[in-house]
Each structure stands twice: as C-alpha cells, then as structure tokens.
C-alpha cells in the first residue's frame, strides 16, 4: 500500500494531478491511499511553495506542476 498525498488548495492543476494519480494506480493495479491536503498550514509543513505537490510515503517527490505520467508510474513501481 502506497501512501500518496496531493498538496494544493483546489487549483485546476491539483485536481488534474489527483485524477492522474488515481488513473495510473488503477492501470497498474497498485493499491494506494490517496489523501488531498488542502489546508495551507498542513501544506507548509511539507515545505512546498508551489502547488500541486506530491508526497509519497511521507517524502515530497514533486512540486509545482502536474507530474509527467512516466514519473507517476515510476513512483508506483517503487523506483
């Protein structure tokens, strides 16, 4: 089970990121626990200054844009 958090207060790119993450997880048959972090103080706790940010198992792996599909696949295949 991979713990995924998407950080971002409801911007269009944040929604697209969530959609992409869900999609890739379904395609690869990976079980994930997806959480949206929208509260600004919680986002700042991860020290992310440009949203959307992506946190996998507690560490920030991406910030500032919708990630590339290949990168999301890499996160899920454990590389």
């Amino acid at each position: 089970m991979i713990d995924v958090k998407v950080l971002g207060g409801g911007c269009a790119n944040c929604k697209n990121t969530i959609k992409l993450v869900e999609e890739v997880a379904r395609e690869q048959g990976v079980e994930i626990k997806l959480e949206k972090v929208e509260d600004m103080q919680d986002i700042m706790a991860y020290d992310v200054m440009s949203t959307p940010g992506v946190v996998i198992n507690g560490s920030v792996v991406h910030r500032g844009s919708v990630p590339q599909r290949d990168r999301v696949m890499d996160w899920f295949s454990g590389e």
């Binding site: 269009a12 790119n13 600004m40 700042m44 020290d47 200054m49 440009s50 949203t51 500032g64 590339q68």
Partner: protein, 337 residues
C-alpha cells in the same frame, strides 16, 4: 535517433525558422485567395489577423520553450534561498528580477508568500517579487515584441521592474508586518536547506516542451480572440477615433484606464492585441501601457487568494501603491513621448 529529443529539437527549430521567414508572403497569398478587396475594411482586418495570429503564436512557442528551460534553474525554493536574510534595497531589485524568471501561478501565491515569510524574506522584498511575477512575464513581453516591436517590450520590462522595485520598497518602509493575518505572524522562522534537483540536459529540454504544451495550449484561444477583436478595430474603427478619449490631451484617461484595468482580469495574451489596435487608432501609448499593466498586474482572483494571508487593510495598501506606480508610468510616458 528519431526518438532523441535533441534531434527532434533541431527539426522543430528548422521548421520554426522556415515558417517565420515566409510569414509575410504566405499571409498575403492566403488573403489573396479570398474574394475580398485587399484595400477594403474586411481586407485590412483579414490581413491583420492572418499575419499577426501565426506570427505571435510562433514567437510565443519559441519564447515559452526557452523560458521553460530557464525556469528549471529558478525554482521558487531556490529563489527563496537567494532572498532570505537580505534587507530592503538591493534585495528588491533581485526579487523583482527573480519574479520574471521564476515560474509563478497566482494559484500558488499563498504557499509562496508563506514560504518567503517563513524563511525571513522581508515583507517589502516579498512584495517586489509578487508585483513583478505576474506583471512582467514572458507572455506579455513576447506579445509586446511581436505586435509593437522591441522598444515597447523593453520599456514595459524596465518600467514593470521599476514599479515592482519601488512598490516593494515603499510597502517595506511602511512597516506593515502587523497587518498580516495573525496565523501568518505566528509562523516560526526557520532555516531551509535547499537541495537542487539533479536534472540532466534532456530533462530541462523536456521541461521546455511541457511548458509549451501547458502555456501555449492554454493561451492560444485568448490570443486568437484578442487578435480578432484587434483585427476588427483595425479594419472598421475610423482613424483617430480613440484620440479624443484615450489620447494624450485627455489627462484623465490614465487614471480612468487604471481604474477600469485593476478589477479586470485577462491574461496578457488577450489584452495586448486589443491595446495594439487601439493605439493604431490614436490612443496614447502611456494610457495604453497603464491600462495593460493594471489588467495584468492586479487581478481580483489573485487578491482574493492573497486575502488568506493579508488583512483587508494590507490588500488595499498593496493595490493603491501598485496602482499609483502604474499611474505614474502612464503619465510619464504620455509626457515624454
């Protein structure tokens, strides 16, 4: 070999140059295909549209690609590290300049603001960044270059930076820290370590491609709309029509332009072609620039987002100072040119 991004890039550059240099004959040829008199109103409007729309889109693609690559060196986190712990003055110049090259979207204005405050970047310096970032951006500069030429683009760049630097300095001197929302004042200052992501050259090229898809994919429709309106004005509005109410002699037109421009929200992409057409019909450059700057720099959605961290009083101060700066730019322009 065909999958290599460098190879694709070379092909793209050749195609780009080929199209760009043949734009004038190509567009004239396209216009001549239509059963319309070249000298008629409709002919003028069509010629304007068919030449300018592809030209601006081509320029924009190239500039956004290059900026996408440059942006990979200037993440907001690095910008913060560069600005942390500096005092007002030179840091405002640095902040305004970094505002131009750091990728910025008003939707992340709040986390960015907090990140700066947390790292101990002075409020006035943060504001210099926040004024410059949306106002002086590659889209505005490219459109100005494409439609007005390099002089106006350079002028916009210099004056935009000046408004950002001076605005930030004044806001900094006013000592407005107590007008931040309480929870922002309570944030603990802390040192940030900054590790740059290790990117290869083809990662950076890839980032350029992504930003072309992102940015050009989003703004092309506004550019076409803006140029259509502009083309209509070019073809059908009589010469000197704008002179009476947007001309130099009408001093009140500058404040009016700013007042109308501040709540308006359009990307630079949509507004600049319209402004260009107005200018051709006798509007004064200072008035037109002031209008453009206030539309692009200050927008209602961004202010609503910033309300999460700034009290209303601070927002009003921020808007008034930026608006006064823009007003000054408009007046000086109309006076000098």
């Amino acid at each position: 070999m065909f999958k290599d991004i460098r190879f694709q890039l070379i092909i793209a550059v050749l195609l780009w140059v080929g199209t760009y240099v043949s734009l004038i004959p190509l567009s004239e040829w396209v216009v001549s295909l239509f059963p319309v008199e070249r000298e008629s109103h409709l002919g003028e409007a069509m010629a304007f549209f068919i030449y300018d729309a592809p030209k601006v889109l081509l320029l924009l693609t190239a500039v956004v690609f290059v900026m996408g690559i440059i942006n990979t060196w200037f993440t907001p986190e690095r910008t913060r590290t560069l600005l942390a712990g500096r005092s007002l003055g030179l840091a405002n110049i640095l902040a305004a300049s970094l505002g131009v090259v750091t990728p910025f979207c008003s939707c992340s204005a709040v986390p960015l603001f907090i990140g700066f405050v947390q790292a101990g970047v002075p409020l006035g310096v943060t504001f210099s960044f926040l004024i410059a970032a949306p106002m002086v951006n590659e889209i505005a500069l490219t459109l100005l270059f494409g439609l007005f030429g390099w002089k106006v683009a350079l002028l916009y760049l210099v004056l935009g930076l000046l408004v950002a630097i001076l605005g930030g300095l004044v806001l900094g001197k006013l000592g407005l820290e107590k007008y931040l929302e309480q929870w922002v004042q309570d944030i603990e200052k802390k040192q940030h370590s900054f590790d740059a992501e290790q990117l290869t050259f083809s990662d950076r090229l890839q980032a350029g491609v992504v930003s072309v898809k992102d940015v050009v994919g989003k703004v092309w429709i506004y550019i076409l709309l803006g140029i259509s309106v502009g083309a209509f004005i070019h073809g059908f509005v009589p010469e000197n029509f704008m002179a009476s109410f947007m001309g130099k002699s009408a001093w009140w037109s500058v404040p009016l332009a700013v007042i109308i421009g501040v709540p308006m929200y359009s990307s630079a992409a949509g507004i600049i072609p319209v402004v260009q057409a107005l200018l051709a019909k006798g509007a004064a450059l200072g008035t037109a620039l002031a209008f453009m700057m206030s539309v692009v720099a200050l927008s209602l959605p961004e202010l609503i987002i910033l309300r999460k961290v700034l009290t209303l009083r601070l927002i009003i101060t921020f808007v008034s100072i930026v608006a006064s700066g823009i007003l000054l730019v408009g007046f000086i322009f109309n006076l000098v040119l």
